[in-house]
């Protein structure tokens, strides 16, 4: 089964991809499908001995360009449709034990190029409405393959959270004539929640942080998508992101688990709708301290209302201190 069903009570789609139950689950290191194929070793997903960054179609996709017909018939109330879209795997390095925090600024810079390239390629599909690169890192967030990697989903429409961002941006623009993210960058620059100040990107704990140590990286310029970033901005994004990730590991004292997502302008939409988008990254570690995790409990799950145990100003100061002197691999 690979289909989408519409929830008319919340005005959103839910995807069912039951074949993913059979996907590779926490294989031992010598059977990692994301490692390169070594001479004499078992074939992996990547038929090369060495690589820097590799992107390929997910063997177990939630969305597909050739989805099967739905298993159940939809109704006027609850439409059902094939789960169209793209799911790609982005492997950051051929080193199994590395992390994005350890690969260095140059590799992250190459990753920015890879993200931008794939974004443009996926956005060229007129049936795609939104492209979301993301990384799920660490067992604390449910990762099933430990080899450092991320994913890119290309949805047939704008998913709920980015859609809410679009609505908020539209409301703010109607009220002020300005971009809400540009106003946030102006307000937060030099403030108590700043973690890393780059020339093109600002990393800070947002005043509304949903996770105790959430850090957002906002483009200082009003840029909607990754392909629109110039070379200097890509350089800066790599430097800022590398420092934030290294700072997390330094602050927590272990390899930090997190969810990282890149929000962009929707694609294949009208120019005025696209102009509302403002490129930014959100990084959400589930940790609130050593051995303590932030769970999505009753208020978050049923109310959609996040409760956070650490003041963003305190988190910002702690992470700023951790990132200031941390050694960042080149």
């Amino acid at each position: 089964m690979s289909e989408r069903r519409y929830d008319p009570t919340h005005d959103e789609w839910v995807t069912f991809a039951t074949h993913r139950q059979d996907r590779t689950y926490k294989p031992p290191a010598d059977a990692c499908p994301l490692c390169p194929t070594r001479p004499g070793g078992p074939p992996t997903e990547i038929p090369r001995e060495h690589f820097e960054i590799t992107v390929f179609d997910n063997r177990f996709p939630s969305l597909s360009t050739t989805p099967p017909a739905p298993d159940v018939a939809g109704t006027d109330l609850v439409p059902v449709e094939p789960a169209y879209g793209h799911c790609e795997v982005v492997v950051f390095t051929d080193e199994h034990e590395a992390t994005l925090a350890s690969v260095g600024i140059q590799r992250i810079r190459l990753l920015v190029d890879a993200w931008a390239h794939r974004f443009a390629a996926l956005a060229a599909d007129p049936r795609v409405g939104y492209v979301l690169p993301f990384e799920n890192k660490g067992e604390a967030v449910g990762v099933t393959l430990h080899h450092p990697h991320g994913q890119i989903y290309a949805y047939p429409d704008v998913p709920p959270r980015p859609a809410r961002e679009q609505r908020a941006a539209s409301k703010h623009r109607a009220e002020t004539g300005r971009c809400v993210f540009c106003d946030v960058v102006a307000q937060e620059t030099g403030g108590p929640r700043v973690v890393v100040e780059g020339t093109h990107f600002l990393a800070a704990v947002p005043p509304w942080a949903r996770f105790p140590y959430e850090v957002d990286l906002w483009s200082r310029d009003h840029i909607g998508t990754l392909p629109e970033l110039g070379a200097a901005a890509r350089d800066d994004l790599a430097r800022v992101l590398a420092r934030v990730l290294a700072g997390y590991d330094s602050f927590f004292g272990f390899r930090t688990s997190y969810l990282l997502g890149i929000h962009s302008a929707p694609v294949n939409v009208a120019a005025d709708e696209r102009a509302l988008g403002h490129l930014h990254l959100e990084i959400c570690p589930p940790h609130r301290g050593e051995g303590k995790l932030k769970y999505l409990a009753g208020s978050e799950t049923f109310g959609g209302a996040f409760l956070t145990d650490v003041a963003p100003e305190v988190a910002g100061a702690r992470l700023r201190a951790a990132t200031t002197d941390v050694e960042v691999p080149a």
């Binding site: 960054i53 179609d57 140059q106 443009a120 070379a231």
Partner: protein, 56 residues
């Protein structure tokens, strides 16, 4: 007639300026990364795979 997808391997320099300007017409000067090499291939089962590297 062969299509780009029929080619077993394609290597080209990034950025693909023509494609970027077509898909993102309001993009300014596209980023340039010296030495960036993008190689697109097909896996045995037909899935796409793309390698990104820096020529040294």
């Amino acid at each position: 007639m062969a299509t780009p997808d029929d080619e077993p391997s394609r290597e080209r320099r990034f950025p693909d300026t023509e494609r970027l300007q077509r898909d993102f017409p309001d993009t300014g000067a596209p980023a340039t990364t010296p030495g960036l090499v993008v190689t697109e291939e097909r896996l045995a089962d037909g899935r796409h795979i793309t390698y990104f590297g820096i020529a040294r």
